[in-house]
């Protein structure tokens, strides 16, 4: 039994691989993990409480995600989430390609060549265009995130860069008679504009799109329109945790 864990800022994702190679995937709020399923040890590290998680004793744990440094799981191989996502992406594409991971806070791009991360970039300090921005906007527009993700045609022109102030711009446009689909498309397109420079750093058109953001159909549309050949793995939001299990395999081979 091997367990992978991806500790994000809001959600923790688990992948439990049984000895016959069957995979079980699930998630929980990050705060729940911190409050209910960790044993803090005197040396500052933490132990996962398999019992309270309803898990059998697990042999090997691999951890990734923002929380990996804070939690300091004493039982885990710790892996950068960019490398984990790249490893996850290598499950579905070989050779040379870009990995695009849109998470809740950050968007990460890696250039992968022959099973190796050659270079990477992460968005800058301002969170405009992050997953959280999309969530906020969906809330303001009063549409479910899935619906927001479905609009790409005729995007409204949004100029405000701040994830919070974009709200009032959107409300203003609504009042001016701009339609909800145009606004949703505008939110998606402004996010695409934010991501594009990161992709264009490398002249590469094969792309594996992962993370929760990979469910954004509008983003997929814009990427394809920009001539990217896009592959989205099954359960893209679990790509990181599956990737960190992959890295465990590699580690064991060496």
């Amino acid at each position: 039994m091997r367990l992978g864990i991806d500790i994000g800022s809001r959600k923790v994702k688990f992948a439990l691989q049984s000895d016959n190679n069957r995979m079980k995937l699930w998630d929980m709020p990050t705060t729940d993990l911190y409050h209910q399923h960790l044993h803090r040890k005197p040396d500052g590290t933490n132990e996962l409480d398999f019992h309270s998680l309803g898990l059998p004793q697990v042999d090997i744990v691999a951890a990734t995600g923002y929380g990996r440094n804070n939690v300091k799981l004493s039982q885990a191989l710790v892996v950068s989430e960019i490398l984990a996502h790249a490893a996850g992406a290598m499950r579905v594409l070989q050779g040379e390609f870009l990995m695009l991971d849109m998470g809740g806070q950050d968007t990460k791009v890696a250039l992968v060549r022959d099973g190796q991360v050659e270079d990477f970039s992460v968005n800058d300090k301002c969170a405009a265009g992050s997953g959280r921005y999309l969530e906020n906007m969906a809330q303001v527009l009063g549409v479910p995130l899935e619906e927001l993700f479905s609009y790409y045609a005729d995007p409204a022109d949004l100029t405000t860069t701040c994830a919070v102030y974009a709200e009032s711009e959107i409300i203003g446009k609504l009042a001016e008679g701009v339609t909800m689909p145009q606004l949703c498309a505008g939110v998606n397109y402004s996010t695409f504009l934010k991501i594009r420079p990161m992709l264009e750093r490398w002249p590469q058109k094969e792309l594996v799109f992962v993370g929760g953001g990979a469910k954004n159909k509008a983003m997929l549309h814009y990427l394809q329109q920009a001539h990217y050949a896009v592959v989205i793995p099954e359960a893209p939001e679990y790509n990181g945790v599956l990737g960190c299990l992959e890295m465990l395999d590699k580690e064991e081979e060496e």
Partner: protein
């Protein structure tokens, strides 16, 4: 001079002694103006970000960068002292291959000797003499005279709109590459002959660099207020144009001490009977820091407006403007009431 052909377009990033370029038969092009008068300036900014410029960079720098990537301009004169270091970094590290960058400094301490040295450097580059430049100064002063008239009509006769005032002043950085054609545009403004604006309109001075708002003036007018003093744009037009070329560029306030600007503002505020100031600050610009200084030095009310990307006034900015206008009008009314009683 490196093989300049007559009519070659020379980019400038801010006001410089443009007489030198005209003396050489080359054509000065203010990159800011190309950017902001484009049909889709926001697309130009997006392009700069796409090319990798950090988002937390001034929109004017982004705009000029994109413009340089896409025009046929091969020579840029950039102000390395007296303007901002973001422009210098951009010109230094990001110029496309084949574009030459000529640095020009306004010496911080207004040294006559150093400024002459800087101007001579540019003259040598273009292979022209002081006399040539004085001749082109005479040619430009013809146009400046009309600009000054338009400016006076704005605040004294109240028959020129803030928008036309700004148009006349801002284009004096490069004279649109053609002083005589520009003159015709200016004459059209003179010929408009509109009724004076009502006395009830509030009179604002706009401090700081040009804004990126596309509808500031009509919006202000709809609220019963006007800009009758463009601090920096007026300086671009060299209000002290009567003196010689060196003096002209020493009395130009913008690139030198903050207190020189304050003095100019105080004088014009009295002359023009201003009711208040709008201090425009561009996001991420060093001039933001001067907002505190203005508040200490100037006695009239100041509204600070921050702008980032090009476009219409957003709701937050309109709220500020509305409040400022309504507050000043109500103060004024009360003062008048008190006077009457």
């Amino acid at each position: 001079m490196s093989e300049k052909t007559a009519k070659e377009r020379i980019g400038i990033t801010s006001t410089i002694p443009v007489e030198i370029i005209y003396a050489s038969q080359c054509v000065p092009v203010d990159l800011n103006n190309i950017f902001i008068t484009d049909k889709h300036p926001q697309v130009i900014v997006d392009e700069a970000e796409r090319l990798g410029l950090p988002r937390n960079t001034c929109t004017w720098v982004k705009g000029m960068y994109s413009v340089l990537k896409h025009t046929d301009i091969h020579t840029v004169i950039g102000v390395v002292q007296g303007d901002c270091t973001h422009i210098v970094s951009m010109l230094e590290s990001l110029l496309p291959a084949g574009v030459e960058f000529i640095p020009f400094s306004f010496p911080y301490e207004k040294s006559r000797k150093l400024l002459r040295w800087e101007m001579q450097k540019i003259m040598d580059y273009f292979g022209v003499q002081w006399d040539d430049c004085l001749a082109s100064k005479a040619r430009l002063d013809e146009v400046r005279k009309i600009i000054h008239t338009i400016d006076r009509m704005t605040w004294e006769d109240n028959t020129v709109s803030s928008q036309d005032n700004f148009y006349a002043l801002i284009n004096s950085t490069d004279f649109m590459g053609n002083p005589e054609a520009f003159k015709i545009q200016l004459k059209r403004i003179l010929d408009k002959k509109r009724e004076p604006y009502p006395r009830s309109h509030l009179r604002f001075g706009l401090l700081g660099v040009p804004t990126v708002f596309t509808d500031l003036y009509p919006y202000l007018e709809s609220q019963g207020a006007r800009v009758v003093y463009h601090e920096v744009a007026r300086q671009f037009a060299m209000p002290e144009y009567a003196k010689d070329l060196l003096e002209q560029n020493l009395s130009y306030t913008y690139p030198y001490s903050f207190y020189g600007r304050v003095k100019d503002i105080q004088e014009e505020a009295g002359l023009r009977h201003l009711d208040g100031f709008i201090h425009y600050v561009q996001s991420f610009c060093h001039h933001q820091l001067e907002d505190l200084g203005f508040r200490e030095q100037l006695s009239l009310p100041i509204l600070t407006l921050e702008g980032d990307r090009v476009g219409k006034l957003d709701g937050r900015t309109k709220t500020r403007l509305d409040t400022f206008v309504q507050m000043l009008k109500s103060k004024k009314r009360r003062k008048e009431d008190a006077f009457r009683n």
